[in-house]
Assembly symmetry: D2
Homo-oligomer: 264 residues x 4
């Protein structure tokens, strides 16, 4: 069902070459959005990634990608300069997706392995939370948001739970949510709606970097009332819903897309 | 935009002659759903209500209404008997909306007015919360739910806040949410998704029964980052999103449709 | 450490012959409170219970017990009549503890066993939630609360989680919490503070009635960061803290006493 | 009531020369704790502060203070070196209080005033959240915590609300809470309990730096069910409760000390 809600609109996806970001890019392209992806990948991985990007172009929409570090200030400024001349009815960003997963997974206490220090927390919070504000602020100050803009970022059950190795990511996720609430409040009259989607355990490259990820996935399948893991497209579908006209009264919230996993 | 996601499907709306229930009926009819409304209205109000129902029929969908007390067991059984023979591809209920607002608004302490007692709490909880389970259980046991069913009910900020006069409704709303979580868990593998939508302050007949509703509405407009009250269609739009295919991984949650009102 | 914070004060404990209620009675007696326990036990169990009650008397405080159904209106009225003549400086109730665990544990869906119906929900909500309001209202209207009164009741992680068999208790717990918030609000200027304590998995008679309670207990020990179950005295200790002068600014809250169990 | 629960124990208070930190120092000294305060004050303010410190000494406990920046790494290391030789039965820290309020209060959007940027967020999060982990980690690695240690820090309703000017503090507060949950989990078996106390609106120097703080205080008095602001000693009292033996099963939680203010 290609419903074309995105025709003539642009979605900018930070972290769009894999996982939740890529699934979102595909789903939005199927709905007619032209897509800009910022991603950070090695040259050796690019052939596989190019194939995914081609599948986005195959939806008949415009597509650009920037292989650059979305957390780096200069890269951000360069990219924003370039996308200030997007083609189209208004050439503005209607959807901003933040899917940057870059952080440190270390225990606070351990005799065996390196433990978390504050620089790990800083790096993780910068990448996974504060960068959302940097992009929002710069795009806004350059007048690059459309009159009706949706910002969506991704959180996890680490927002209320403490998990071994996950302290830095937990702190980053709650900071991301707080920033989202402030954006929702302070940019409301500028036409911006900002929300987080809380995915269940999803079999992505980032997730698999967590120690014991296999055991966590097994436990998640047993725990999930629907007896399966969350798939990237489950989450992308919810992002899509938040981009629709009917979602314009939803802002500053956290929406769970987990098949009920967090219920038990 | 009539996207016809509801073509060949039925939505059963408890409390569908005004407010959030009516707006939902209209929105779903515009999307192709055939509609059954259960409502409780006086004869003298029916001409005005018939006009609203006609606007639903005018969307080109099938429509039935039952003027009966949805909280009464015998009425429920009678209605379920009658809708066990709905026309259509499967003749089943794909969407169940619970919009029953019937409760007591009394203070716990007062020298001037009657105070809340436990029978008020019971009546309010029965009507606004437990009736959702009665309908769900009976429809399920009669095999009247479709393979992919969405249940949506309405909650409010009274789920975390205490407001004067609102004790019984607060208790009912949190009970409704808990029952929704249990339905989401226990009926997951039966194809049912159950969620609550938390509306901001909305100018409906039920809301206006709260003492000082005018002041509450004024305060809500000042407080809302979007500087207006929630409108019934804002909420109906979110129900619509929850009925879409893309929402099938959302279950057991509470989704705020308040324009950010609860942020401050 | 008998610190005598309760000297000259009375604590009324609903459900005080076992579990959290009994542990609270013992802890408060050790701190000098005189104790009234309402409990519901069979004659054959009374010798064992009398021994526990004797240990309360042995703390050197006054003690009365009523073997009656605290949920029954007539019993409540009779008991309140009798405690309207408590000895002591003011003869009033300074602490009201609600530890009534009486409910139905049934699944919503099952081919094998009886399923939950609305009357089960009603009975459970009446006993585990609404009875708190009945006692509060009647004691207040008879002017039996002291000028500084603490009301404490018990909730569980079922307030946010859905567990098989636990739907009715979940609904009751959230209703109890909502009623507690309303009491905290509406009775604030009458000198009443009302809070809930959320215990971790505790090895009590009520807990052991949950199907698969053994497995749940094993899982709780593994999950708890402190690697043991919650003990009744862990929870009673927190109730004691809420009765101290220093807790008078805590009201309308839920305090977890679970050794961190709900963190993961 | 000097109950001497702190006799022979040390409390280390970061930010202890005013507000919540100072009130906590006084309350704990009254309970027999010896006190180390780290504070950051101008020379001109020291006479007034010295008088407060004298009132702590007057409780008959040992007292040291360090006028240094608790957020600075070198200062932290220097102070920890010095307190590694505290007198007393074990010379260890039994209570660590984090009361560092140092952040930027700026709007995200404004035509009139400087707006928040990411470096403001970083500074605020570092000072108000990450520094808790730095102190915890260093004290732990130097074996300076006692076998039963309580860590308490201060949060606010900004943890769920978005307020103008408050975005950086909100992000810091939720990060602080997440770090507290991780400390509670990961240090549980080392004998550490970590909690946050959520104060209502309190008339402190830090609070008065928020734009429109007068209006916020007026609104808080009207809103609070107890019709007054939170006082520093209300909050210090709750910290005291968390230091008692009876609180040892409370960890990883947020406890509201607001007189019910957040209920409406």
């Amino acid at each position: 069902m290609n419903d074309n809600i995105g025709r003539g609109k642009w979605a900018l996806i930070l972290g769009g070459s894999s996982g939740l970001g890529l699934a979102t890019a595909i789903k939005l392209a199927r709905s007619g959005y032209s897509i800009v992806v910022v991603h950070r990948d090695r040259k050796t991985d690019m052939p596989a990634i190019e194939a995914r990007f081609q599948s986005i172009r195959d939806e008949g929409v415009q597509f650009f990608n920037f292989n650059a570090d979305a957390v780096n200030s200069q890269s951000r400024k360069d990219i924003i300069d370039q996308i200030s001349q997007l083609p189209g009815p208004d050439g503005k960003v209607s959807v901003l997706i933040h899917s940057i997963a870059k952080g440190h997974l270390k225990p606070m206490v351990s005799d065996k392995t390196a433990t978390l220090d504050v620089s790990d927390l800083q790096l993780t919070i910068n990448a996974m939370a504060l960068s959302l504000y940097d992009w929002t602020k710069d795009l806004y100050s350059k007048n690059l948001f459309s009159k009706d803009t949706r910002i969506v970022s991704f959180t996890s059950e680490g927002n209320t739970k403490a998990l071994p190795y996950y302290a830095a990511v937990s702190a980053a996720k709650v900071a991301l949510e707080a920033i989202t609430r402030s954006i929702a409040l302070e940019f409301a009259l500028k036409g911006i709606r900002a929300n987080c989607v809380q995915a269940g355990v999803t079999d992505t490259a980032s997730f698999n970097m967590i120690p014991n990820s296999d055991k966590i996935k097994e436990a998640a399948i047993r725990r999930n009332p629907n007896r399966r893991l969350t798939e990237p497209m489950d989450v992308a579908n919810v992002v899509y819903l938040l981009c629709r006209e009917e979602a314009r009264w939803i802002t500053g919230t956290i929406i769970k897309a987990d098949g009920g996993e967090s219920l038990l």
